[in-house]
């Protein structure tokens, strides 16, 4: 880049916010980085933000919660869609199908809880009525009590499950076990083929919002994201032998946005890099088309999410989203 070799330093914080903070300190003091991409959980991102803000180093986070970029922090950006957007996309689809009274069953993990809070906050504006709420622990193996309560609640027309990891797969299986026929919506937290594998035949008909990356080969030919996601999918599968997931896509986008900003800045000056990241316009990534601004440090809008439905064990695009 700019005629110089760039060096990538990688640390694994193991999901611990404490470790993240120490490594952040190390990156700033010892490794003397000029920019940072990382922080895959909200907890570790929030722990690291003070370090990078004080050192005036641009930080592109890979975590989901909206409070990372709202209120806008001068040096902090993020690539993944916010959990608020996911709620809005799901609610828009529910509204279109006239299913305005719903139930929420969320995981008690950080992702599930954060998204549940956002859904509750945006529900009134979106015309949604949350009739009943249940939750489950991230390690639970049976959610039939909670689902039974939901099934018995009069008037519920659909169920939304904000969650991460194995919980949503078990919820989906229990759903089928209890024979609940209401539409089930999952979150972008399970946007990987593994969810379909684990949930098995119960996954039929489940809808969730996801980035174009998951349906690379099913995108219409004129979709601007198609070349990017098809290329990324092919390269990723070649190198790792595994199916793509949106999490890898977000990291890719974070890195590429940074690289392009540094190329535009034509320097390794941290402040100039930050300014160029903020000026990112029309970047076509795996997550969507990114247009950043001084008031928007994520740059994605609802069109970056597609509503997908699982049919025949594979993702399909819900028409009109």
């Amino acid at each position: 880049m700019n005629g110089q070799k760039s060096q990538l330093i990688v640390y694994d914080d193991g999901g611990s916010a404490d470790n993240a903070r120490t490594f952040a300190s190390r990156l700033v003091e010892e490794d003397k980085i000029v920019a940072m991409v990382g922080g895959s959980t909200t907890g570790s991102t929030l722990a690291m933000i003070p370090v990078f803000e004080e050192a005036k180093i641009p930080f592109i986070s890979l975590a989901g919660a909206i409070q990372i970029i709202q209120p806008v922090r001068s040096w902090v950006f993020k690539t993944p869609h916010t959990d608020k957007m996911a709620c809005e996309k799901i609610f828009a689809d529910l509204k279109a199908r006239n299913l305005t009274t719903i139930a929420l069953i969320s995981g008690a993990d950080a992702f599930g809880k954060s998204m549940r809070d956002q859904c509750v906050a945006v529900a009134p504006n979106a015309g949604m009525n949350i009739a009943i709420e249940e939750s489950y622990g991230p390690r639970d193996s049976d959610m039939t009590p909670q689902l039974t309560n939901i099934r018995n609640k009069a008037g519920v027309l659909a169920v939304v499950n904000p969650g991460f990891g194995q919980g949503p797969a078990i919820v989906t299986r229990n759903y089928r076990q209890l024979g609940i026929a209401l539409p089930l919506y999952q979150s972008h937290g399970v946007a990987s083929k593994q969810f379909i594998e684990l949930a098995g035949p119960a996954a039929e008909g489940v809808r969730l919002p996801a980035a174009a990356l998951l349906i690379a080969d099913k995108l219409p030919a004129n979709d601007p994201q198609k070349p990017v996601v098809v290329d990324y999918t092919r390269t990723y599968q070649q190198k790792t032998g595994q199916a793509v997931s949106t999490f890898g896509g977000h990291a890719y986008d974070g890195l590429m946005i940074l690289v392009q900003a540094m190329q535009r800045a034509k320097s390794a000056d941290k402040a100039r890099i930050r300014d160029e990241v903020e000026r990112t316009k029309g970047y076509v990534g795996t997550g969507g088309i990114v247009n950043m601004s001084p008031t928007d440090h994520m740059g994605l809008d609802l069109s970056a999410f597609h509503m997908l439905e699982i049919k025949g064990g594979d993702w399909t695009l819900v028409p009109g989203s």
């Binding site: 008690a108 939750s135 390690r139 193996s141 039939t144 009590p145 194995q166 797969a169 089928r176 024979g179």
Partner: protein
């Protein structure tokens, strides 16, 4: 009424899982007075090894057998290399060793396997059995039945075989047992091996319901303790009853009270039981000699 029945079914499903895990603690404790914190990892190894061996193309029954054999060997190794050399150490030191072993096994599993979740196919298919307006998975009944079978086999073994008597003798007084010709080392070897096998079997049977990953061991072991404390440590029947009761309490709490604090139920039970009836429902009070 149908909802109460569903809660009960859920409680039995989860409780059977806890019961099967809890059974693994019994034999080791009976033979050597040790609470083996690594028991949860045996369950994890049973499930994860089966998954990865099937991914390599081996048929499920053979993969399960391989997993059980591998886990049994690891249980044996745990005794020979970690517990035996520390014989005579205080109970606390032994607990620390088994905790260290559990962390070690989990760390190694992370590297050898992966960090994702996996499942196994159910023995009788995934279609639920409907009864009285509630639904239960056939696999849950399989888990429950296996717990019962293992309890019976353990009881028959301890009560009716010479080897079983040798186990009791070893636990009661090691020196005296050796004096009457019991090879106490082999006995404890055996108890570790069998407990590991029980753990592995549990792992294979519960994965179709609860899924598996490299770190399922910890929570399962903790719930297993709660079951064992409630039922009375050293009693196989107590382990099963304890497990089922905890599963039921959890399901009822999730259904009628708050699903948030469901996990707290098991640990609250540990504290309450230890403070009031430390020997549990079916255990015997220990008399400490000075």
């Amino acid at each position: 009424m149908a909802e109460l029945l569903q809660f009960v079914f859920s409680g039995l499903t989860v409780g059977a899982i806890y019961a099967l895990v809890a059974l693994g603690f019994t034999l080791i404790y009976k033979a050597s007075d040790i609470i083996n914190f690594a028991q949860g990892e045996f369950v994890m190894l049973g499930g994860m090894t089966t998954v990865f061996v099937t991914l390599a193309g081996v048929s499920l029954p053979l993969a399960a057998l391989i997993a059980i054999i591998v886990t049994t060997a690891i249980g044996l190794a745990l005794h020979r290399f970690a517990i035996e050399p520390a014989r005579g150490a205080s109970p606390v030191a032994l607990i620390m060793i088994t905790i260290g072993a559990s962390i070690f096994l989990r760390g190694v599993a992370q590297i050898i396997f992966d960090r994702r979740f996996h499942s196994l196919p159910s023995l009788f298919g995934g279609d639920p059995i409907k009864f009285g307006g509630a639904a239960i998975l056939p696999q849950s009944l399989v888990v429950l039945a296996s717990a019962m079978v293992i309890v019976t086999l353990l009881w028959l073994f301890i009560d009716r075989t010479l080897l079983g008597k040798a186990v009791i003798a070893t636990a009661a007084n090691r020196l005296a047992a050796r004096l009457i010709g019991v090879d106490t080392r082999r006995i404890v070897d055996f108890s570790f091996a069998v407990s590991a096998a029980i753990g592995a079997i549990a792992g294979v049977l519960i994965t179709p319901i609860a899924l598996t990953s490299y770190d399922v061991g910890t929570m399962l072991a903790l719930k297993g303790f709660a079951a064992v404390m409630l039922g009375g440590i050293g009693s196989a029947l107590g382990a099963v009853i304890g497990g089922l009761l905890i599963g039921l309490f959890e399901a009822l709490a999730a259904g009628y009270l708050s699903s948030n604090y469901k996990d707290a139920v098991a640990f609250l039970i540990i504290l309450v039981v230890l403070v009031s009836i430390p020997q549990g429902l079916f255990g015997r009070t220990k008399i400490e000699r000075v």
